[in-house]
């Protein structure tokens, strides 16, 4: 009898709760809908950026030939008689500066990552990791400022130049800016290599260094490559540093000691001053579009690499 009663009251409670429960369920549906909406906003933004850059940028090609835009090295939109809209010099500058910085970032990044992840004692690591991240947090405008006040004059001194604002300066500063990204993500990649692999290698009689080179680094390689790609993306998209520290000369880069002006700097410096609706205005959007495409490709590649690692 007692058992029956228990079951019975249980059922009564169930019925009594039902309406309240239903209200609760509707509330949950609403919340879920809201979450889904915010989830899809990022697609809207990416699509928006895409469409907008295309729309505004393509307007430029009503007046400027796309071939000239891509192949000419002459960028002189303000010239009244013969405006030049070629971005090749700037594209080359961007890659030149980026390449320079990558030459520094790759070995340094892997070195720092290897040390922090494999060799540093726990206490040292707990200081190193945030320190490297702090380096990443220094605003780009401050790094640019350092370029003007410290590294620029130093380069000028060393090479005997009138001023040190050139591609080399930009490369060094970009390396400072993007190194933390490269090091930190590479370290994540190294640390995600299972400890068991290291133990297995050590147990087979390999040394620590040998284990790093033959097991840990190869296993982490996709992640490290992705880290380098992302660091490169960051270097390509960096604006203020190159704007302030590269000398700002819209010419085809001839050497690391020449002043250059990458794509980002061009937009930053000119967009504020051009009248809206002109060919110059739209062509800056076209430059933005080019930049967007480049960074898109780089990110996609990094993404592919990370995917392959996951598989």
């Amino acid at each position: 009898m007692g058992e029956l009663q228990v079951v019975h009251t249980g059922q009564v409670a169930m019925v009594g709760k039902t309406r309240k429960k239903r209200v609760k369920r509707v509330g949950e549906r609403l919340i879920e809908f809201g979450l889904a909406l915010s989830g899809n906003i990022s697609i809207l933004i990416l699509g928006g950026i895409c469409i907008l850059l295309l729309y505004q940028g393509l307007k430029a090609f009503e007046e400027v030939s796309i071939v000239q835009f891509l192949t000419s090295t002459r960028w002189n939109p303000t010239s009244y008689e013969n405006p030049g809209y070629g971005i090749l010099s700037m594209v080359a500058s961007t890659f030149f500066v980026t390449l320079g910085s990558m030459l520094l970032i790759v070995p340094l990044g892997i070195g720092v990552a290897s040390y922090t992840s494999e060799f540093a004692p726990k206490r040292v690591r707990s200081i190193l990791k945030p320190a490297v991240e702090m380096l990443a947090a220094i605003p780009s405008v401050v790094v640019g400022f350092i370029g003007i006040t410290v590294t620029g004059p130093a380069i000028a001194n060393f090479f005997g130049l009138p001023n040190g604002l050139n591609a080399l300066n930009g490369s060094i500063l970009l390396a400072v800016m993007a190194l933390p990204t490269a090091a930190s993500l590479s370290e994540d990649a190294l640390r995600s290599v299972p400890r068991e692999w290291r133990l297995a290698s050590l147990a087979l009689g390999a040394g620590k260094w040998e284990t790093l080179v033959r097991v840990t680094l190869p296993a982490a390689m996709p992640g490290i490559l992705a880290a380098m790609m992302l660091a490169m993306g960051r270097a390509i998209g960096e604006t203020m540093t190159v704007l302030m520290a590269c000398g700002n000369a819209p010419a085809f880069p001839e050497s690391f000691l020449a002043a250059v002006r990458p794509l980002t700097a061009t937009i930053a410096i000119e967009l504020g001053e051009v009248p809206q609706g002109t060919a110059h205005f739209f062509s800056l959007f076209a430059v933005g579009l080019a930049l967007f495409i480049i960074s898109f490709v780089v990110n996609l590649l990094a993404d592919k690499l990370l995917r392959r690692k996951a598989a």
Partner: protein, 252 residues
Amino acid sequence: MVSSNIECNNLSLWYEDSKALDDVSMNIKPNRVTALIGPSGCGKSTFLRCINRMNDEIAGVRTEGSIIFEGEDILSPKADVVELRRRVGMVFQRWNPFPKSIFDNIAYGPRTHGMKDKARLSEIVEDALKKAALWDEVKDRLRESAFSLSGGQQQRLCIARALAVEPDILLMDEPASALDPISTAKLEELITKLKQRYTVIIVTHNMQQAARISDFTAFFYMGKLIEFDTTNTIFTNPGEERTEAYITGRFG
């Protein structure tokens, strides 16, 4: 065909300030399977890792006493750790093949020790896989990733990898604890076959497993070696009350 005992004399070990092994002396017979059993934290894994000095990789570890193998104290600072680890292979709880091909996994050890001759490497790989009873299952796919194998196969691959450097001793740290009964049975069968050529020392949580595969069993408790005898004696007629209580399931 090993012929030397592993003689462990008054071994004590500290992690920082806590004593993990307390005056352990035992004499491990060659070409036999010796099982180390005991509750969590009893020191059995720590003891195992002394034998190939894997404890060196942990900071703050200090040892006293000696482990004599072929006349040398392997715990002495003068001992050649690289050579020691070549002679003392190890297999871990969680199978850990490298993210390389089956072939490269097995060739890793010999290459580490300077082997470059390709034909010889192929022989070594084949031999190791045969000893680990895996050759028939993988001979047509040596270039495939080791991860394409099942869990039990990966564990046997790890054994083959350890065998490829021609060790005398094989240490196993709960090699079957993550395997299902079928893979476990195959692994156990392999282990009992391996003792023809190697001295096997295995840590296991599973008392029944120790009973099935080992010739000698050592019971550890709170860092001390309570009893060490033939497996048959330990499981039918142990000498110590604590051993009896443990193997019969009297945990208080």
